[in-house]
Symmetry: C2
Subunit: 424 residues, 2 copies
């Protein structure tokens, strides 16, 4: 796989893929699914040639195939005291590309899913403004809009792994992330409409659910690239993503992207509310705490193979794939190791490279069937390189929950099963 220069052998010669399919009339059979089948047996199974399916009147709003019913968000019952304040993880191992479909975007609530009526919903701007304003949804739809693809990652993503490998699947270790195209109004335009006073330095978005989520956001960020979004991937926000209105804070921790957004208070200092003091700060080894750690550091994870997606074909041509992202820009490079970080080879980045968006990478790999210690390491457009977990612990100790962007290791066994491990 590696020739010692760190460069993988990624030729796309014909020889390389031989064996990936069944040559008719030959003896070669690849994969156990059709071992022993001849052409006649294969054709006999194509029942749908004989039947009419549902017509176009059957599915006004479509749904996945019945054969995909295992592709769902999942929660971890022991993680929280109650499902109304908990998290439902994105099945990253089932997905590809960089768009997360709306039905599978991870969700994290503090008081359950509010089902807000958009006709009743209002957004208030108050505090240090020339005039306090209340907008209906129809009002907001009259401002100029933008469309941007951004990742949203919970600061606690991978947090359960601070003290060692624990959860067996990238859905659970890294699934507090999604990546969608938002349509929304630049927050700047709404703030300018109210008229921000010259001594204003902060804004406080507030949610309309029973947790009334609040965070302090610097006015500079609010004016720079925040959106008040009402659509995701083309259609209205989903209720679990804050329908009808959410704040989009590109590159910054998900908790600040207030859902069911009903109020924006403008002030001259941060509010130091619960969700930025007792929560969303990092207790260090020396007893001090990091706070206002807004930006999400560059990070990556291999999504296939992974514990929920073993390598069933045992050996031969294999696709290794994963995702990478950075709150500070684009991803310039991802390296992959098959030996626990001793040697690295560059992965192939594929799909649009967009600012503060998920990126997709691949390594097209000829597996010899021996065990692997798979790792990925992202570098972003600022030159920052994703650290190891041990490097993070040396810096911050082991009390942290948030901002674990350490390198993940998957142990691929000879039988193709995969487990979450740590290497030192």
């Amino acid at each position: 796989m590696s020739d010692g220069t760190g460069k993988p052998k990624t030729t796309t010669s014909r020889r390389r893929f031989l064996g990936a399919g069944l040559a008719l009339g030959g003896a070669a059979i690849a994969g156990k699914a059709h071992a022993g089948e001849g052409e006649a047996a294969i054709l006999e199974k194509k029942d749908w040639n004989q039947y009419l399916g549902d017509g176009v009147d059957a599915r006004p709003y479509g749904h996945p195939s019945e054969f995909e019913k295992s592709v769902v968000r999942r929660n971890v019952a022991w993680l929280t005291a109650d499902p109304v304040s908990s998290v439902n993880f994105t099945p990253l191992h089932d997905l590809d590309g960089i768009i997360t479909p709306n039905g599978l975007c991870f969700e994290r609530h503090h008081a359950g899913i509010a089902e807000v009526d958009p006709a009743q919903h209002r957004l208030m701007i108050n505090g240090l403004v020339d005039k306090q304003m209340v907008f209906t949804m129809a009002d907001i739809m009259r401002f100029p809009r933008e469309n941007r693809v951004y990742f949203l990652e919970c600061a606690a993503n991978s947090g359960m792994e601070w003290r060692g490998a624990q959860l067996n699947g990238c859905q659970f270790t890294h699934g507090m992330i999604h990546n969608v195209m938002y349509t929304g109004v630049p927050l700047k335009l709404l703030l300018e409409e109210a008229g921000v006073k010259t001594n204003a330095k902060w804004i406080m978005p507030e949610g309309a659910d029973a947790s009334a989520m609040t965070r302090s956001v610097p006015l500079q960020k609010a004016m720079e690239d925040c959106l008040v979004a009402f659509k995701m991937n083309g259609e209205a926000l989903r209720p679990e993503q804050g329908y009808p209105l959410r704040l989009v804070v590109p590159g910054w921790e998900g908790n600040m992207w207030v859902k069911w957004l009903r109020r924006l208070e403008v002030g001259d200092e941060p509010w130091h509310h619960r969700e930025e003091t007792s929560k969303y700060t990092d207790l260090l080894e020396n007893g001090k705490a990091r706070r206002f750690t807004w930006e999400m550091d560059a990070k990556s994870v291999i999504t296939n193979p992974s514990p929920q997606a073993p390598l069933l074909h045992k050996k031969g041509q294999t696709v290794i794939t994963g995702i990478a992202w950075s709150g500070r820009g684009t991803i310039d490079r991802v390296d992959v190791s098959i030996d626990g970080g001793r040697n690295w080879m560059p992965a192939r980045l594929d799909g649009p490279s967009l600012d503060k968006s998920m990126h997709r990478f691949y390594v097209d790999f000829d597996w010899d069937g021996s065990p692997l210690l798979l790792q990925s390491r992202a570098m972003d457009s600022t030159g920052y390189v994703q650290p190891t977990k041990d490097q993070l612990r040396a810096e911050r100790g082991t009390n942290s929950i948030y901002h674990n962007n350490g390198i993940q290791t998957w142990h691929v066994k000879a039988n193709g099963e995969v487990e979450n491990v740590e290497v030192s």
Copy 2:
């Protein structure tokens, strides 16, 4: 709106948006939805502050809000003899950005929706190849993948409008289009695996449904950019989009993107099957027929306002928005007219500009409340400019069904209602 130079007045000064929101304590009230409401009344309606919602265990696969239940695909009963061979239109007027959510992608079947079991599904390559091959889905997953966003437009999109304005809504006049991110294997790699003989010039993809859809595709296009796709917007293809496997033929008419793809025959001449002779050819005025009109010409339509999405606020700051696309590249420019094509102003293109993908445009417009004749006109990266319907008719007569990319006109009345009209 126009200063005679064709350049719109699109300043984003504060003054311009005044009146789009309710100034608290002032007399100004914008929009009837909250006329007469004070701050107290507004806050009383925010019930969700008082209730816990569903927890994270409630929705393994999410769905839109109940308040969005009108956002669905729709069919036109009189259009076809039976819903198993018909079309379900994308609600373009309800969408924004450039990604079509999977549940709302238009569908067109010839024998209903096949519900193919991916474990049973096979893709065969036969004909002029060194060795005939049969691939399982697992085999296909072992080839290198790409992720690309492409529009898919039915050649018959807008076809009912050839002889004049007929259907009242862009969902029906232009809704045979969607735009998603595909994940798939370059067709080139699969053909190279089978070994294409030197005299091969064409391929014939075939579907596994009861219509066994076939089309002739030039080998050059197959080797250039076609994909054998298994995912759309991150998740598995939907059944109505050919789950588990469809051909992607970027920029070319949708009928060639064979769904439930089960076979690729390689040949030295086109097959002249039904769907490229009696259908998908254009009968001209002189009795001759255009055939093999594969590429979709540059086209655009204003999606808001439109007959299903009237201008309820009557006057003032207004967002005009729409979509544009070309089978030959990107969209370089969209112009919008409010007077039926006499004067034009450039629209603002927003969101990623990707090859053979939908583009989103906006005009941020201060409406004086007088009637409008709205039009949009796209120019693609080849310099081609979208024609008027009359220009198309002068060229091709009125017998055509396919490839109507003429400029669409919406008549916005003073009361905000919108109707489909033609101007000459």
